[in-house]
């Protein structure tokens, strides 16, 4: 019989429309931001958690609205005279609201999965766990909203609850910052992670802590709605308090960056046709085909024009502005890749070729960070070196004009001098010694 009542509640309580609304809005938000997560399971889960700052307040509001149904329908007097105890009669409604919120979130995830399943090359198990924790956020939101709706019987309650929920989530997100954040913020923020690139994961321990916290929050929400007396409601707060303490203890002590590097995501996938080894990270495996031909051309160019040229190309997950081991490897040409959300590399073959040959097959050095003038000549020289190797004008852009002048000046030098200068630039860039690359390439001092 309770199943039959649950069915009625699901059909008639607005649970279906709420689930459809959540799924539709959620999927729209996701696809507006598809560049951020397309083709990557982990980023899909993290982005979806990020959007909880809108979806969670919605669940709160819908829960609060449902809790006011008896008052709006003026059935409270009739229902108060029936035999079934309050906790028992609240369960089908609470279950319908929880299902609605959870299904809305799962459908939103499914909308993302439809894309990711086609274009992703690496499925980390933790990404599914992160999405699952998001479902718990939705359920706890719906039940918390029902409690507020029951305790504050007013027409304004649903809207005010949703707005307050959104404010809490947004304030917690902005407070997330990049340095030491109080751990408790992680319990208040649906997504305390932020985005740290394609090669991170969230440890199972963090998800376990969130699960404990949300389970406690959900129990308190349910108790607040289902219990008839104030004492019972206060007792219902206990699980939330215990869960908060347990969750804070479970959260890793090093909370500066909750997402941690995922070595699996950064593991290499290689192709070695005709003695030419080209590797990309596992999470960017669909870009391998796009990289292969530009990489072959770049390696051929380098070996034709320079001594001791690299013999393989490898994508690196580390950004150039993070601390790098020095000197950089000589035999391997390191390159950073961005994934196109719809598969492949987010660059044309021509762009990739230029990127590979910038700095004569080297990466920028971090010592230029915070020094605009040094950065300018650094990038200009690197681009001019690529233009010399390719034998064509550098593409227009921030450093295009300056690089064009540098390249023209380089070409005015004798041929052997040109080659020596580019070789010297490559050596200096590999070593990352703090020198002005533009002087090395076209300076008068040599």
């Amino acid at each position: 019989m309770t199943g039959r009542i649950l069915r009625i509640e699901i059909l008639r309580s607005g649970a279906l429309s709420a689930a459809a609304g959540t799924a539709l809005l959620g999927a729209t938000l996701l696809y507006v931001a598809v560049d951020g997560w397309g083709g990557r399971w982990m980023l899909l889960a993290l982005w979806q958690r990020e959007f909880l700052f809108i979806l969670w307040p919605m669940a709160l509001g819908v829960g609060a609205w449902h809790a006011g149904r008896d008052r709006r329908s003026r059935t409270d007097e009739l229902i108060s005279t029936t035999a079934r105890p309050r906790w028992h009669r609240s369960l089908p409604g609470a279950a319908a609201m929880a299902l609605s919120a959870a299904v809305g979130y799962v459908l939103m995830y499914a909308a993302g999965v439809a894309q990711v399943a086609v274009f992703a090359s690496y499925l980390p198990g933790q990404s599914v766990v992160i999405a699952g924790v998001g479902v718990l956020w939705m359920v706890s939101g719906a039940w918390l909203g029902m409690t507020v709706g029951a305790l504050v019987p007013s027409r304004l309650t649903p809207a005010v609850t949703a707005v307050v929920g959104a404010a809490v989530a947004i304030v917690a997100i902005t407070d997330r910052g990049y340095s030491h954040v109080p751990k408790v913020v992680h319990l208040l923020t649906p997504s305390p992670f932020g985005f740290w690139g394609d090669f991170v994961t969230v440890s199972g321990r963090v998800s376990a802590a969130h699960t404990v916290w949300l389970a406690g929050l959900a129990v308190a929400g349910l108790a607040g709605f289902a219990c008839a007396t104030r004492t019972a409601r206060l007792v219902g707060l206990l699980p939330a308090a215990v869960a908060a303490v347990a969750a804070l203890a479970l959260l890793p002590a090093d909370r500066q960056r909750l997402p941690v590097p995922d070595p699996e995501a950064a593991a290499l996938v290689c192709s070695s046709d005709a003695g030419l080894q080209v590797c990309v990270t596992r999470v960017h495996a669909t870009a391998l085909a796009d990289l292969r031909e530009p990489a072959r051309q770049a390696l051929a160019t380098l070996s034709a024009k320079l001594p001791r040229a690299p013999t393989s190309v490898r994508e690196t997950p580390a950004s150039w502005y993070d601390a790098q081991p020095r000197p950089q490897p000589r035999d391997t040409l390191l390159v950073e890749l961005e994934l196109d959300p719809w598969g492949g590399a987010k660059a044309t073959p021509e762009e990739l070729r230029w990127r590979l040959l910038e700095g004569a097959g080297t990466r920028p050095c971090p010592y230029i960070i915070g020094k605009p003038l040094a950065a300018r000549s650094h990038h200009t020289a690197r681009l001019a070196a690529a233009a010399w190797l390719i034998g064509g004008r550098p593409p227009s852009g921030e450093y295009g004009d300056a690089a064009l002048r540098a390249w023209e000046k380089l070409q005015s030098l004798p041929a052997t001098e040109q080659r020596d200068r580019v070789t010297a630039l490559r050596e200096a860039a590999l070593a990352c010694d703090e020198v002005n690359l533009l002087d090395v390439l076209v300076g008068d001092s040599r």
């Binding site: 019989m1 309770t2 039959r4 009542i5 009625i8 008639r12 309580s13 607005g14 149904r69 008896d70 329908s73 003026r74 059935t75 409270d76 007097e77 009739l78 229902i79 108060s80 005279t81 029936t82 035999a83 079934r84 105890p85 009669r89």
Partner: protein, 274 residues
Amino acid sequence: MKRKYGMKKAIRAASVAPTTHAWAIRARDLRVRAGRHLAVNGLDLSLGVGVHGLLGPNGAGKTTLMRVLATVLRPAGGDLELLGHSIHRRLDLRTLRRSIGYLPQEFGFYGRFTVREFIEYLAWLKEVPARDVPDAVQRALERTRLADRGNSRMKTLSGGMLRRAGIAQAIVNDPEILLMDEPTVGLDPEQRMDFRSLLRELGTHTCVLVSTHLVEDVVAACTDVVLMDAGRVVFHGVPADLVGAGQAGMVGDSSAERGYTELLRRHRAAEGAA
């Protein structure tokens, strides 16, 4: 849907169990607060099986009496026994409430539910055993002539049909005490005739208390009449006594209405003299 309810319905354990109480409703010096003032103030009343019409002017305390009998309100003083249970602060009302049917004056409903779903939902709230629910719902719908509207949404019903849905939910648990506050409001004459015959049928095994302003309904369908004024019972007798009290030349369009007016007048005169 099973239609053999007629056979199934007849004998429920509760209906053949010997009663341990002489009266379904028994009030002694009952006092009930409505807001700050005592809307029921020193009321004595004993009611058993039958259809009892509750009459009285606005403000007489009829609705407050109905609400305390329906366990919405608790007594502020005096004694109240319902089905042998003495109503006091610590009583667990759960068992008692299974045996009460109530149609409030302001009947609220969930507009999105179908009629059948709403009655089913109320049957569940009244803890009708799960296996009995489908038959009980069907029976309640047929008795109120709503069987063909079972799948309509509540919000699409006319005023008369809503009242009937209200009556259907009140009787779905085969209550031993059935309380209906102005159940005939919004019913057309034909529906009122149907309702009266339903009342007569229910009154053979149930204590039915019907609050109304329509004196004619009471005379036509009730086994006895309770007349209230200022929170007390001023007359309790059979309809014939009410009709008998009315004489030609008094205020009112029928002898029953004249009787009603006369009984109230006599009571007020006696109160004034005392």
